[in-house]
């Protein structure tokens, strides 16, 4: 790994991705604990939980502009397309080969990744690695591979244990994993210096790594939402949504979610039958809503006819703009979604939609729009229309949300299950 030089190409590309990700795709980006990130030039290995594929790495990339970040990513990311492989190499990504994906023969290729990463650390680089290796599909912290601790200690050993190397625990959280205009959060913990463990590492390398791993993992566990009861995961995940203060920012919602999970864990330990009854109530409510074609919001907000009809009128008034905004909204969503659906992994959806639009689709749509609109109405209108492209996607997203809200409000007002659902809801919100 060469000593980092942050050129103008890198800065411009990063600014463009920042606009695409946090100006358009995501509604809000919260970065907490930014001051805990060691100064550039300090060897730091960021260890983070892994949920939302490429979006997790993007959150770290955007946290600081004073360095070039490096990332360890699964090796098959480089096989998506040769150009894409070259692009992410230039962006500082190194491949990690895993037995279950690339097979036993490919594992030896990790030697080169380790060599480059260790040399990079000794030069003072900042590297992001995901100890869980693969991404999860839920708010749950999986088992850690010791690759990251091995990398950190091997780097220290390469430098004769003279350099102090840090592992910085970090956690990410999302309001929803998929769909536009969600919120995301990155939190950095307290850097863990591995220097106190150098002497132990010299005689018992695995023990030293286990000690460090315990410290790192416990910080990540405390910073993220970690729902351990997988048997009731769906119900707990649903319940936290019901209890959310919709106006609260994501960091506040996360703390409330963590407090809820802690209360439920305590209830499970002290009174398992009460816990099971509570989970059964949540499940009954959740399934009842699904059967009625409703969401918790309708029961919670209790929409009335006046508001609903007013919203319907707004939909009608905005429908010409919504029709215009079908281009580029429909292809911008459905083309990458087609490819993400083929992977069979819903957790890749946001990454593929974001990357495909940023790198290819949206620039292409802007050019097509400029050309066509210019031919029809002149270059000034063409330029304006082209610039409007991403914002039309935001508008269409909100329009569709309003459409769904109105549709469900009509279902709520004309249905006959609202009283029973309201009664169920009142039981569960006291948790």
């Amino acid at each position: 790994m060469e000593k980092d030089r942050i050129g103008w190409g890198y800065k411009l590309t990063k600014a463009y991705f920042r606009f695409a990700a946090y100006g358009i795709y995501y509604r809000a980006y919260h970065c907490l604990g930014r001051d805990n990130i060691p100064q550039p030039g300090t060897p730091v290995l960021v260890a983070m939980n892994h949920q939302n594929a490429f979006c997790d790495a993007l959150g770290v990339l955007m946290s600081k502009d004073d360095r070039k970040w490096h990332f360890i990513a699964r090796a098959d990311a480089f096989d998506i397309h040769p150009l894409f492989g070259k692009f992410i190499t230039w962006a500082g990504v190194l491949p990690a080969y895993r037995l279950q994906y690339q097979g036993e023969e490919a594992l030896a290729n990790n030697d080169e990744t380790f060599r480059l990463s260790e040399e990079g650390l000794l030069k003072g680089n900042s590297i992001l690695i995901f100890p869980e290796a693969g991404h999860q599909d839920k708010h749950w912290l999986g088992t850690f591979s010791y690759g990251y601790t091995r990398m950190a200690f091997q780097a220290a050993e390469k430098g004769n244990f003279e350099k102090e190397i840090f592992i910085l625990p970090a956690a990410n959280h999302y309001s929803e994993y998929t769909g536009m205009r969600q919120s995301m959060l990155i939190r950095f913990g307290t850097p863990v210096s591995i220097k106190p463990y150098y002497e132990l590492y010299k005689t018992k390398p695995r023990t030293a790594q286990r000690e460090v791993n315990k410290l790192v993992r416990s910080q990540i566990e405390s910073m993220m939402l970690d729902i351990r009861d997988l048997d009731h995961y769906a119900d707990i995940d649903f319940l936290r949504g019901c209890l959310h203060n919709a106006d609260a920012p994501l960091p506040e919602q996360l703390e409330a979610d963590k407090a809820l999970v802690k209360r439920l864990q305590a209830l499970q330990e002290t009174d398992p039958s009460a816990y099971q009854e509570a989970m059964d109530n949540v499940k009954t409510y959740r399934l009842g809503l699904a059967a009625a074609g409703l969401e918790d919001r309708q029961i919670k907000e209790n929409p009335n006819w006046f508001l609903t009809l007013l919203q319907a009128l707004v939909l009608l008034a905005l429908s010409p703009l919504a029709l215009l905004a079908l281009w580029p909204s429909v292809p911008a969503w459905y083309i990458p979604k087609h490819f993400s659906d083929k992977t069979g992994d819903i957790m890749l959806q946001s990454s593929i939609v974001l990357a495909a639009n940023t790198l290819l689709l949206m620039p292409l749509f802007c050019v097509i729009t400029f050309v066509v609109t210019t031919l029809l109405a002149g270059w000034e209108i063409g330029l304006f229309h082209a610039i409007l492209m991403p914002f039309l996607c935001i508008f269409e997203h909100h329009y569709l949300n309003l459409f769904r809200t109105v549709r469900q409000a009509f279902r709520f007002l004309t249905g006959n299950s609202k009283d029973s659902l309201a009664a169920l809801r009142s039981k569960i919100v006291s948790l």
Partner: protein
């Protein structure tokens, strides 16, 4: 194959108590195996027994008893 010798070598390599290695114990959990340490286990087994465990076969080896059986068949 000398099981005690093998267990001692594994315990030393992975810095665990040799008494944690029992026939019914999970290989993956006891040794906290990942892709990298799997290669270390393969190396230890080969050095002690001469048997080359295939990485892809390890996913089918749940317990140490099954590992011993695999090595016996390998011999």
């Amino acid at each position: 194959m000398n099981i005690e010798q093998l267990n001692a070598a594994i315990a030393e390599e992975f810095e665990i108590d040799v008494n944690d290695i029992t026939p019914d114990a999970s290989v993956k959990d006891t040794l906290e195996l990942d892709s990298l340490s799997l290669l270390d286990l393969i190396s230890v087994v080969h050095d002690v027994t001469g048997c080359t465990v295939k990485g892809t076969d390890v996913s089918h080896i749940a317990t140490f008893a099954q590992l011993y059986e695999y090595i016996e068949q390998c011999s």
